[in-house]
């Protein structure tokens, strides 16, 4: 519709300019800064000038190495054994500290170890906490994305029935979405509390006291799971509503046709409902994944990354360094790593869920 009445460079820039400028300064610029700063040693406040350090920040965060220890031998080459007859191995410390023969392991710490064959193999990392943060974040995303999307679909199907008062149920299921995740996290600290927590009391009552009390957030093996369950509880209503709007775009005539053909409920879902939800499914998966990678507030309020780093996450680490330790370059490097992960995963998701010809 380009005509002399609709064409105006001046008006176009005048009206779009302010918003475009704000996005340039507060989104695009920091994004470029994140990349640039990740190659420097910038701090929030520092007397020293900023220096270019190349890939040192990335190496510091992501450096890993694998090492299989050989048992110690005496002068004749025979394996030294301890009192129980087990082979004697050098300590890890002798490898990672001041060992000129293996400079690539200098400063690394043990991440985990396993034994394949005769000798133990150690996986070493320069930053073990960050490695745990990456693993925890991936566990969180891999559990939350399918479970939350699936439960949201079940809720949407339940809510899509024609029943009196169904709007009230929809309103209630959606309620936690409106409440701040900070408030929700605090409330759930009560539910998960080790002594007087609501969950322990409920499980105790249901099992007539047989179920032992668990400090859900204080135990390294349950803390991340507890945070996952709560996060799903808080956000599932959001995606229920998106599924619901997808369900309502499916033409009723398709359901009528299926009813005439005498299809079972499962057949209706499999051949009418599910194909109609394809695009919604792709969108929901991508949105949940992006939100899940940003996991921060729950951790900050509930566990602070503990116990024993079992709930460390990528964003929590970025904030702890960038803000807590005022290490802007370290925080920026983590931000770039996070962006690369999120971006690659959404590309992979788009590729896997592309329209097949």
């Amino acid at each position: 519709m380009a005509s002399k009445f609709t064409r105006s460079n001046r008006i176009g820039w005048l009206m779009a300019g302010p918003a475009a400028l704000l996005i340039a300064v507060f989104v695009v610029l920091p994004f470029i800064f994140a990349i640039g700063l990740s190659f420097t040693n910038q701090r929030l406040i520092s007397p020293n000038p900023t220096e270019f350090v190349g890939l040192a920040n990335y190496e510091q965060l992501l450096g890993i190495g694998m090492l299989t220890l050989e048992p110690e031998r005496d002068a004749s080459g025979a394996v030294l054994r301890d009192a129980d007859g087990a082979p004697k191995y050098p300590t890890l410390r002798s490898v990672t500290r001041n060992n000129p023969d293996l400079p690539q392991f200098a400063g690394m710490r043990e991440w985990f170890s396993f034994q394949l064959g005769e000798h133990p193999t150690y996986v070493l990392a320069r930053d073990v906490v960050f490695m745990k943060a990456i693993v925890n974040t991936f566990i969180f995303v891999l559990v939350v994305a399918p479970v939350q999307a699936g439960l949201a679909l079940v809720l949407a199907l339940l809510i899509n029935q024609r029943l009196r008062g169904i709007n009230l149920f929809r309103a209630i299921y959606f309620m936690p979405v409106v409440v701040s995740i900070v408030v929700v996290s605090l409330l759930w600290r009560f539910i998960y509390d080790g002594s007087s927590g609501l969950l322990n009391n409920l499980l105790g009552a249901l099992s007539f006291g047989a179920f032992p009390k668990i400090d859900w957030l204080g135990n390294p093996s349950t803390a991340l799971g507890a945070i996952i369950a709560m996060s799903i509880w808080q956000a599932v209503g959001f995606h229920m509503v998106i599924w619901l709007s997808g369900l309502q775009t499916i033409s009723p005539s398709l359901y009528e046709a299926a009813a005439i053909e005498g299809s079972s409920k499962w057949q209706v879902f499999r051949y009418v409902t599910w194909p109609g939800l394809r695009n919604t499914a792709v969108l929901i998966l991508i949105v949940i994944t992006m939100q899940a990678f940003a996991l921060f507030s729950q951790i900050d309020v509930m566990t602070g990354g503990g116990p024993l780093d079992s709930t460390q996450t990528i964003v929590f680490q970025a904030v702890e360094r960038g803000y807590g330790k005022q290490d802007i370059s370290g925080g920026s490097t983590i931000s770039v790593i996070l962006f690369v992960i999120v971006f690659s995963i959404s590309l992979i998701q788009r590729y896997l869920t592309r329209e097949k010809q």
Binding site: S3, I11, W233, S297
Partner: protein
Amino acid sequence: MATIASDNRGLRLAVRYAVLILIAVIFIFPLIFMVMSSFKPDQQLLNDTGSFAAFLPVGDISLDNYADAFKRAPVGLFIFNSVLVTGVTVLLSLLLCSAAAFAFVFVDWRGRELVLTAILATLIVPFETIAIPLLLIASKLPWIGLEGLTFGWLNSYQVQIVPFIADGLTIFLFVQYFKDLPGELIEAARVEGASWGQVYRKVVMPLAGPVLATAAILKFLVMYNQYLWPLMVVQQEGYRPVMVGLQYFFQLNRAWGEIMAYLSLITVPVLAFYLFLQRAFIASIASTGVKG
């Protein structure tokens, strides 16, 4: 036979409602616990968690926790800060984002495609990935205020408002909505001699009610619930919003009743607002999905 069939239907209906109610309980019990606990003294609050009393207004019920919460922290100030920051951001966001979308959809200008594409590309950048460098930028930005020219936005209202006025999602929502409006309407108004400002104010905006509601609700939820950003940029209590103000209650001796009172105070008005405008809230979330 007929009675058996109808009994069956009645039973199935009862099962359906039972399932719906059970799920509703799962979603609502922490909120009921919060409100009920806010009326109880600490010791009773903790004892009640062992029984159903946790969800009932029983025992020693009073508003003491609320009074104590106001004594412990400048609660009124935190609420004022949050309302101010949220309100100003929502209003400016609606204004600037709708104006930008108007220019993208109805006005033909050089650079239009490029700028719109760039803005939509920012949708894949999560805020968490730019927060740290944004902190550095915010600590150096100039500002002209009552004290003249100053540098550094930390501890201020503007640091909580300005970065969140314009965003890709809001502009996207307006663009989608404007595209569905009949373009002839705008051209006709222009042919009749209306200025661009008049077309925006008198033709387009009066038709934009639904998208304004959607954008306002989404922005409201994001802004009122802000946590990570104000945590980093606001250390002085004078500018603290409600979510960061919570930290007050975790210093020194922890009083759970007061915490519950504070949580209720900052949550219940939002819940009431939501229940009042329930359809608009849900429609706003749904619209991010259908068109996204």
